[in-house]
């Protein structure tokens, strides 16, 4: 029988803690650059990860919605180790904290990376608006590390292999009723996970969690 869930706490996070979480518990193994709002997650006072909002890598991220750079942001990382509370709940509380700090924001955008086997279960569970996907073409792999080709170029790394284009599912979370009314017409049916891709990680909705590191623990948790 599953024991009682640990006490969940979300609070502001230091850069050091956020960096640790991203490098150890997120598939990108890196923390984004630029202005970030970093919200730490604790279960029974034990640090289990971070939810990070930022401006995103794409400068024209908000232009399709006729928003300026300071009116929206991107949910850029959900980096969690094994956890017992639902990610959807964690993200919801993180958004509440974000709104408290940046009360002029109107929209949050996030992407679920098909290349990592994610379809955005977390966002679907949180009633985000799915608006379609973009094809990401510029990723590459070098010595097992996946990054944008321009990242490798900037680091002077040669000999990386370009990866096949894969989808990034785009989800929107409007923060006001007006904004919701403005973007609701973009709504599409949620993408579904192919049957063969179902595994234990999907049960926890821990879509961002790096597979292979805690599947055994997750199975225990969900048993």
């Amino acid at each position: 029988m599953m024991s009682e869930r640990p006490i969940l706490k979300l609070d502001w996070c230091t850069h050091k803690a956020a960096k640790y979480a991203c490098e150890n518990w997120h598939y990108s193994e890196s923390i984004p650059v630029g202005k970030l709002v970093k919200i730490g997650v604790w279960e029974d006072d034990k640090f289990i990860g971070v939810v990070i909002f930022g401006r995103g890598a794409n400068r024209s991220l908000l232009s399709p919605y006729r928003l300026k750079q300071d009116e929206g942001c991107e949910l850029v990382r959900i980096a969690l180790k094994e956890h017992r509370n639902e990610v959807t709940k964690i993200v919801k509380i993180a958004i509440d904290l974000l709104k408290k700090l940046c009360n002029k924001l109107l929209l949050i955008i996030s992407f679920a990376d098909d290349g990592q086997g994610h379809i955005g279960s977390i966002y679907q569970g949180g009633n985000w608006i799915y608006t379609g996907y973009i094809k990401q073409k510029s990723k590459a792999i070098y010595k097992g590390k996946i990054a944008h080709r321009r990242t490798f170029d900037a680091a002077g790394i040669k000999g990386y292999e370009s990866m096949d284009a894969h989808k990034k599912y785009r989800y929107l979370m409007p923060l006001t009723k007006e904004m919701r009314d403005k973007v609701i017409h973009l709504k599409k049916d949620y993408p579904k996970r192919p049957k063969q891709a179902m595994d234990t990680t999907s049960i926890t909705a821990a879509g961002q969690y790096r597979p292979g590191r805690s599947i055994n623990q997750m199975e225990t948790i969900n048993a």
Partner: protein, 156 residues
């Protein structure tokens, strides 16, 4: 087994030990003295330590009077130097997932393994970026030398 007093610390030993680690080493010797028989201290022909300087100090503190040694008396001076370094180099790496899942974390710390503390405390809101504000884009007017914030001019 030989008298502990007959062994000399190496004055050129390039290794240091932090106080907390040293205390753990002393405790480790007290808890598991057989380890010294399985992995004895190595000395040269002059009874100067090539491998185990910290262990000797810890043995003295733990109150041991006699210890087991291996005498490496056929090494050249160059080989002795090489040994000192190679004896302390760890070529392998820890598999932290296996350690985390199959070993007792408290025991690992007690045995002297450095486990990074990842139980961070919360930060504060002043460390966060204000995403609903843009940094001013200041330029100096070449004609009047006044500062102008480009953000104030349309949607820059």
């Amino acid at each position: 087994m030989i008298d502990i007093k007959s062994i000399k610390l190496n004055p050129d030993n390039p290794r240091l030990i932090r106080d907390d680690k040293y205390k753990k080493l002393v405790q480790s010797i007290k808890d598991f003295p057989q380890m010294l028989e399985i992995r004895p201290i190595v000395v040269n022909s002059d009874m100067i330590i090539l491998g185990g300087n910290m262990r000797l100090k810890a043995c003295q503190e733990a109150g041991l009077k006699q210890i087991l040694i291996i005498k490496a008396d056929d090494l050249t001076e160059e080989q002795q130097k090489e040994f000192i370094i190679k004896d302390n180099v760890a070529f392998g790496e820890w598999d932290w997932d296996i350690l985390a899942n199959q070993w007792d974390e408290l025991k690992l710390v007690e045995w002297g393994l450095d486990i990074e503390n990842n139980n961070f405390d919360p930060g504060n809101e002043f460390e966060q970026g204000q995403l609903d504000e843009l940094e001013p884009k200041i330029i100096i007017c070449p004609h009047c030398n006044k500062e102008i914030n480009l953000r104030d001019m349309n949607d820059v």
